[in-house]
């Protein structure tokens, strides 16, 4: 049983995906078509990309609730700057500005010592307000049609670009978390901050970099979404933060910190997208998606709780875990 649970921790989400695929393939003929599958993966890529960053934040023992505001902030900056700077310049500035927001989050959390919850919740409200102020509450239409190629085109006329971004970012984040000393330091700060400090790690710096990474990933998705719609939207993706958290937790990253599972995050992003696709087949209204995400989150935590309980009892009984 312990072995099974260990295995489940690694590939549990993969089992869910296979089950969901079989189910969808049976009920929906459309699903047996490569374009549909790619579009589902693309829909999942937005949440997954930000969840890569969120996985880092949770691994370091915190989280970031400001990601949806960062998306809107990025979107607004691009829309305002694109007429004068062109799209390359505006994208770079938007991403840098978002990274600066992440830096502020990190400083407030580590130097001032405000909890991640209060810091990032306030940042969310402040940044939303700031984005609305910048555009005066309006949505800004982008006239440069060529900007669309970034998020709305297909490589080899087949694979949508967001999937490419997701795969590239996954590779980078995976290498950082699992192959570099920085990744190990992030995990160390998350599992026992005091011990990490004692052993000479600069925990404050590590955590600050983590919040910059989260903001970076959110900003990338902001760029993609803005390019697809060609509109700068200050209130972009309301409520998306919970989706991102759900994906990270569903993927098996422990909220207690210290253990991040990016592969799980990747698949969880796709799984959530499959749920949405399934609900669309049923032709239900949008609020049922909210309900589904909430229930999936609680279900994942319920399973996780059972697993932890079992492992603890096993430990007490003396079974090696």
């Amino acid at each position: 049983m312990v072995k099974f649970l260990k295995l489940y921790e690694k590939i549990g989400i993969f089992i869910l995906i296979v089950a969901a695929s079989v189910f969808l393939a049976i009920v929906s003929p459309n699903f047996r078509n490569l374009d549909t599958i790619l579009s589902i993966i693309m829909q999942g890529s937005y949440g997954a990309i930000i969840a890569f960053g969120m996985t880092f934040a949770i691994t370091s023992g915190g989280f970031d609730l400001s990601v949806e505001a960062i998306m809107g902030f990025t979107s607004v900056i691009i829309a305002m700057l694109i007429p004068s700077l062109g799209f390359a310049g505006s994208i770079i500035i938007a991403i840098l500005a978002s990274c600066f927001v992440g830096f502020l989050n990190g400083v407030l959390i580590t130097k001032v010592g405000i909890s991640p919850l209060i810091t990032t919740l306030s940042m969310q409200v402040i940044l939303r307000g700031a984005s609305l102020i910048i555009t005066n509450g309006r949505q800004v239409v982008i006239s440069q049609k060529s900007f669309m190629s970034i998020g709305a085109s297909k490589v080899f006329n087949l694979i949508p670009t967001p999937i490419i971004y997701m795969v590239v970012l996954f590779a980078i984040f995976y290498l950082i978390l699992n192959q570099t000393s920085f990744g190990r330091h992030v995990a160390a700060s998350g599992s026992n901050e005091q011990a990490a400090k004692m052993s000479g790690l600069n925990v404050n710096l590590i955590k600050t970099v983590v919040y910059i990474l989260v903001a970076f990933s959110a900003s990338i998705v902001g760029v993609i979404r803005t390019s697809q719609t060609l509109i700068g939207i200050p209130t972009m993706a309301p409520g998306f933060t919970l989706n991102v958290l759900t994906i990270a937790i569903l993927g098996g990253t422990s909220l207690a910190g210290g253990k991040g599972n990016l592969t799980g995050t990747l698949f969880a992003g796709i799984f959530i997208s499959m749920i949405y696709y399934g609900l669309n087949l049923l032709n239900v209204q949008i609020f049922y998606q909210m309900l589904a995400v909430g229930i999936t989150l609680l279900f994942a935590l319920f399973i996780d709780g059972l697993r932890m309980k079992y492992l603890e009892t096993a430990k007490v009984k003396g079974i090696r875990v």
């Binding site: 209060i118 307000g129 919970l242 309900l291 989150l297 935590l301 309980k309």
Partner: protein, 326 residues
């Protein structure tokens, strides 16, 4: 920390002073500032009365949250809970009358609080994530139940609760005062209060010393529901409708702001109801002032966020001055 002893350093004195009077000073400064800026709109008895009346919306909901944060937990679902309880009650009121509507609103919110408590304690899911899930589930249920149609409240009794007066003082002020007195007695005069402080300080130690931690936590989440229910009744009454999308939108943020601004430590184990009450008034006084002075609503949003960060930093400063680590 309440008893000031002889022999404190000036720094510690400053810290204690900041803790006791900082918030009242902020309230007076805000009131004074806007009174001077826009005296005709702001410095009037009807305005002051209305501001205190509106404080009940955040103030009452924040009572349960104060308990919750004292035990080192969170409830992010309060805004959605308010909406779901509100639309349920309002739809019942249309068919069966206002008294039943009010009862259903209260009962629904209480039940939702119990559900949160059971999830947190029995399934051992961290409160933050449980209630984040519930935040979406409750709101979705409110949408689904009403099919996104606002439920109008026209019943005279229900409207009277939020808008009526007794001895020229609005009813919500009496209700808020009553809630605070009850909560104060629970916190300071009953064993329940000592238990929640013990759990917040060290939940393991509390369990070892024989406190039934799970039951107390369930009770705390239930109380969050009860007070949100009272808020939902008053909010629905003042607005004359329960709107599944707009009712309680952003409420969790306002309530947590009030509690944290009021000096309750996020680390659990300490806090004050008086602080929460004054903080709720600070939020309303500031918001009304900015609205009356015609500050753009987006700037208001930015200001609320900044106030929270500054307030929490001040709290850190207080602990640093006293020479304690939180």
């Amino acid at each position: 920390m309440d008893d000031i002893k002889v022999g404190l350093t000036p720094k510690q004195r400053a810290g204690n002073l900041l803790g006791s009077f900082g918030l009242i000073a902020i309230l007076l400064i805000i009131f004074g500032f806007f009174s001077l800026l826009i005296p005709k709109l702001y410095f009037t008895w009807p305005n002051l009365r209305d501001m205190i009346r509106f404080s009940s919306y955040v103030g009452i909901g924040a009572i349960g949250m104060t308990f919750c944060i004292m035990t080192r937990n969170f409830d992010i679902s309060v805004g959605s809970m308010l909406a779901l309880a509100g639309v349920l009650g309002a739809s019942v009121a249309l068919k069966a009358g206002g008294i039943f509507g009010v009862i259903i609103t209260m009962a629904a919110a209480t039940l939702l609080g119990v559900i949160n408590g059971l999830f947190v304690t029995k399934l051992k899911i961290p409160a933050f994530i449980t209630t984040l899930g519930m935040y979406f589930i409750f709101r979705a249920l409110a949408y689904i139940y009403t099919n996104n149609n606002p439920q109008y409240i026209q019943d005279r009794f229900w409207i009277f609760l939020g808008n009526g007066s007794f001895l020229r003082i609005p009813l919500p002020i009496y209700i808020m005062a009553l809630c605070y007195v009850i909560a104060y007695l629970m916190l300071r005069k009953a064993s329940f209060g000592r238990y929640i402080l013990a759990i917040g300080t060290n939940s393991r130690a509390a369990a070892l010393s024989g406190i039934n931690v799970d039951n107390i936590k369930i009770l705390v989440f239930t109380l969050v529901g009860v007070f949100v229910g009272v808020s939902a009744v008053l909010n629905g009454s003042m607005l004359g409708a329960a709107n599944p999308g707009m009712m309680g939108d952003g409420y969790e943020f306002q309530v947590i702001t009030a509690v944290v601004l009021g000096g309750t430590a996020l680390a659990g184990g300490s806090g004050s109801l008086g602080g929460t009450l004054i903080a709720a008034m600070v939020i309303v006084f500031l918001k009304t002032g900015m609205s009356n002075a015609q500050v753009n609503s987006y700037w208001q949003q930015v200001a609320t966020g900044l106030v929270l960060i500054v307030a929490v930093s001040l709290n850190k400063l207080k602990f640093w001055l006293i020479g304690q680590t939180q």
